[in-house]
Amino acid sequence: MFGYTFQWNQALARLPKILDGAAVTMEVAVLSMLIGIALAIFLTLLRLSGSRPLGAIATTWVEVARNTPALFQIYMAHFGVASFGIHFSPFVSLLIGITFNNAGYLAENFRGALKAIPETQTRAGRSLGMSQGQAFRYIILPQMLRISFLPMTNQMVWAVLMTSLGVTVGMNTDLYGVTQDLNALTFRTFELFAIAAVIFYLITKIITLGARAIAWRLFRY
């Protein structure tokens, strides 16, 4: 039909290489999430600090992350900083770009979560002799992270999908990059990218279902 013969075997023979790429994709996504969450907490603290300049820095970060394309952010991390004579490897540029994006979106989620925690919670902690920092660390932060759990899961899925953009800065070890290189060798474009698509799909499902299982076990209150 259509004069095109699908040659799945030829593409499937490359599956081990593609799966290696998937491992790199997961590595970037997980790292960008871990650093992103830490940075988002930091940005949240800056916003809570009451200092105008510090709050403005955090807000600028959040708004740029949310209002420009992720690809633009990766370009900035790769080509933009090159203007200062800084040259990152594709891996690092991609990681920085996605992490920047993650931190911005997560910080905004955290802000929403904080609104859902009554102010009296801090007060209760303070009245037990806790410092402001202790009250945040032991009472506010855990609740904030739990309320933000679903948005964090979504962001993790986004992070996985965003790794595909690494190819634009020369990344060729991730799932998309590997597939692209194999395509240049074999020209089985449809078959190869269909396999990559299925793997991406499965990864996102595993993340979503895994998160649901974790939430179910963890959040019994």
């Binding site: 708004e63 740029v64 949310r66 394309p69 900035m76 203007s83 200062f84 953009l165 998309y176 698509a197």
Partner: protein
Amino acid sequence: MFDTALSAADLIFLAKGAGMTIIVTAISVAIGTVLGILFGVIRVQLGAVLAAPLTFFLDIFRSVPLLIQLVLANAFMGMVLHLRFSGFTIACMVLSLYTAAYCAEIVRGGIGAVPATTRRAARSLGMSWWQDMRYIVAPLATRVALPSWIGLALGVMKDSALVYVVQVTELLKSTQILITRLQEPLFLLMICGAFYFIISFPLARLGGYLEKRWSND
């Protein structure tokens, strides 16, 4: 003050790219919204089990990188079907379905937010299903859905930066072409980023404002 090799012609080139970004976004959001409303209503009407195939189909667009969707659509149309669609057409088709997949979720959420008691009241007044949808559900659901829809439209604009992969020269691609030629990455990227920001930021704020206002009453 600032030395740049950027010429008036280059600026026009960038503006054309920006125009392409807006056109692709506008077409995709328009078609995607119509489809999304249709899919969303169908999903609600059919219920989870009967709508499962549609749900699965739409979920693919949210679980596979857009870049791959574009590459696959392009390869399928060209290599498999031997249809000579332009990159622009492919970009609009894929982005429309991509938009529709997210829009269907928003529509479903909006309809779900209309209390069942309100709908029962409408039906008990003798309204038909269509009248209930038209006069009761649509206005109430729109209120819930509009802020998210604004977010979606802005998301599509940002994601449209990926259509370069099917040879559509939108804003970010234009910028990249100029970067290669002029070797002024930071300056050019700033212009490009500012364009996205200036469109996205106020609209995102509007969405946030509407959400806050409508959730208070």
